[in-house]
């Protein structure tokens, strides 16, 4: 089994190391030896440091795609171009593809799967979601007897680290982000992590598998964590919740809803204990009930673990001559429910004038817009202002928006400081 690795960055190097380190065991499990025949990498020194022979290092993709001896192309360059072209070309030459490229699948999944189907080649992407956590394969195989109802993930390690630190140490976002950058847990440009885009790509992939209908990045509503303050986290604690950036996909009455946003999740929920850079995926199926898969969602060797698992799987398909055994599972076309039609419970923090009748006026506005309040905390300050913390019952997004629009214009309302959804509320929770 000859493979070519495109890109010798963090994950690429991890894959090459892992294949060397566990060579013997991997051969036995795969059914044949796995040989890294070519590595596509401009920085040849990176490859040399791994002990790769000079003749395996190349900078021209033609050397790989035109080599009939290469069975699998392992794409670890990331991004859309040239990864997309490379993958399609490889498939058109009958090669199988393994990738960790969530950006690409969340945008161009359909075209890739169509090509794989047409060419009857394998396309595997376990590493694209949750790093080393087995999630794609368990969903496609172990849970195949279920109708999945809901997937909730903590799918971004950077934001989970930041929120965990904010929660544990009562510190504010900017300060913790800076520290995370110094420690290498956040990138110099953290926008796709803290803005929720990274998690959105991953939930698009999981939603497509869970509900057998293609969900792309554009279908996912996205909100990041930059507006979360130490104060919100403190109130969450007081009320029995913890704040997490959640990636949620659910199906109701044949419609799919998918979104990424910070959320209050009950302390009793299994996801509430997932801290620091760890990721987890919580799945609810009609038969299996609730399961959660937990582990390291990124990093050189955890991600390599997922990539090598896929390589071994394809190797077994080769030995048993059954490539394309599990292809695209999106055999339906389901409607996407827009966010404004979703119903959630909400946490609302606002600053109001501290005088009689204010609470009644505010409650009146909510009531008129069909927003029902579950609980209220009012804290007075010394400057004639009060902080009002409300938790609503299940409320349609548009009703909440309408209420807030009216409240913003009222003189008694100083500011609507934050609005955060609740999630993961299960029967018997509240």
């Amino acid at each position: 089994m000859n493979i070519a690795v495109l890109g010798c960055g963090t994950v690429g190097a991890g894959v090459i190391k892992l294949l060397m380190q566990n060579r013997e065991a991997i051969s036995k499990r795969a059914g044949e030896e796995i040989n890294v025949k070519k590595v596509l990498e401009k920085d040849k020194d990176k490859c040399r440091r791994l002990g790769l022979p000079e003749e395996s290092i190349c900078t021209n993709y033609a050397e790989i795609v035109d080599d009939p001896d290469i069975d699998i192309v392992v794409e670890l360059i990331g991004g859309i171009d040239p990864a997309f072209t490379f993958i399609l070309e490889a498939m058109q030459k009958g090669k199988h593809v393994v990738t960790a490229n969530k950006d690409l699948i969340a945008l161009k999944g359909r075209q890739i799967f169509d090509t794989a189907e047409k060419m009857q080649v394998d396309f595997a992407f376990e590493a694209s979601v949750g790093g080393g956590i087995p999630i794609i394969l368990p969903m496609k195989q172990s849970l195949a007897g279920n109708q999945v109802q809901e997937v909730i993930g903590i799918l971004n390690g950077t934001t989970n680290y930041i929120l965990s630190k904010m929660s544990q140490e009562g510190r504010d976002f900017d300060e913790v982000l800076r520290e995370a950058q110094e420690l290498g847990y956040a990138e110099a440009d953290p926008s796709s992590d803290v803005g929720g885009l990274d998690a959105a790509r991953k939930i698009a992939i999981l939603a497509s598998i869970a509900f057998n209908s293609r969900v792309t990045l554009d279908d996912v509503y996205v909100e990041g964590i930059t507006s979360i303050t130490a104060r919100d986290i403190q109130y969450a604690k007081e009320l029995g919740y913890v704040v997490k950036l959640l990636a949620i996909a659910s199906e109701e009455e044949g419609k799919i809803q998918s979104r990424v946003h910070p959320a209050f999740i009950p302390l009793t929920h299994p996801l509430a204990a997932v801290n620091d850079v760890f990721n987890a995926v919580f799945v609810r199926g009609d038969a299996v009930g609730e399961i959660m898969l937990f582990g390291r969602g990124a990093g050189e060797m955890p991600t390599a673990s997922a990539v090598v698992g896929d390589i071994i799987d394809i190797s077994r398909n080769k030995v048993h001559d059954c490539h394309a055994r599990i292809g695209c599972t999106c055999y339906e076309e389901k409607e996407i429910l827009p966010i404004h039609e979703l119903s959630s419970q909400f946490y609302i923090r606002m600053t109001v004038k501290d005088r009689p009748g204010v609470l009644a006026s505010i409650a009146g506005v909510f009531g008129n817009n069909d927003v029902s309040i579950e609980s209220v905390i009012q804290k007075s300050s010394d400057e004639g202002k009060a902080e009002l913390i409300l938790i609503t019952h299940l409320t349609k997004e548009e009703n909440l928006r309408d209420s807030l629009m009216i409240l913003r214009d009222m003189k008694i309302v100083g500011a609507i400081d934050n609005v955060i959804r609740l999630a993961g509320i299960r029967k018997g929770d509240s």
Copy 2:
């Protein structure tokens, strides 16, 4: 795809219901329709209540095993006989087998796998460990690039329910067991659950997969939870631990160690938050690091989820003509390390005379036997007695045993009330 279900008890009924309930989705995922052609069950009314047609209900196994149209035999009778004979006969006729039978695999796994290998049929048993939690398949496939170092499971829902209640409510074992029996969480004869045997069978199965070497029930050291008292659980809390019945398998220097016993596990360990009837499996691999898979370890529909997942998998093998794609993964013969050679940290609770010099004498005995003490709590009572709580550093089992033997004969020692191992201690924990 025609299947026969042996036994229409809880899990059998669940499987039949699930195949009906999600018929359309399952057909699409499996690649062809799955038809329950025969059900072997003496109590025909059970089958009728599920809406099974009269002609599918039979009491004679020959009707199934001699029927060339039946592709898969789903064995859900449990126990050794006649399940073992039925499975071997089915395989010898070229039929694939799915089972949830942990007792059988933990004892006779080797013979079953040998027959499956010889006949080139599929043998799948995801439901035998952890109910609906995907664990066998992720270990055989997703984690195949790893050398697994350790598997720690909470694999028995009954004992986890009992210990959770004892911990949450400060109650004693007998009382909580009685309640669990009334609620249907414990059987009338709870011995195989509370004695650890059920968990031992499951860890034998997981160890075999994790370390690629057959581990049978006889290789597992087993201790149950009957000696755990509310007092031990209270001390655990004070010291930052929680008491769980753990099933542990590890490999060190090519030797496998496997055991089931109650253990103190740090509150910070992901398994510490796994409560009530939930199960979880924690796996440490050289590449993936730490992962944990969590869910319902038993029950009609969760277990049916795993069984149906296996049926779909075999169906895909049929469609792609690749049966026996993943067979037995025990390609090595590793030595089993006996428990007395294991090193652990220990919690020791003893009653001693409350007078000067007692602690020095006791510490002396431990010191002479190479048992080093990490921490001590002494609590004096009013009757001239004191309770001594010790946590040791890593200690060889036999050294601890020697010390305890000497201590038991000393006049200053009233009783050695309990000895419990610590487990799941990770770097940076203590």
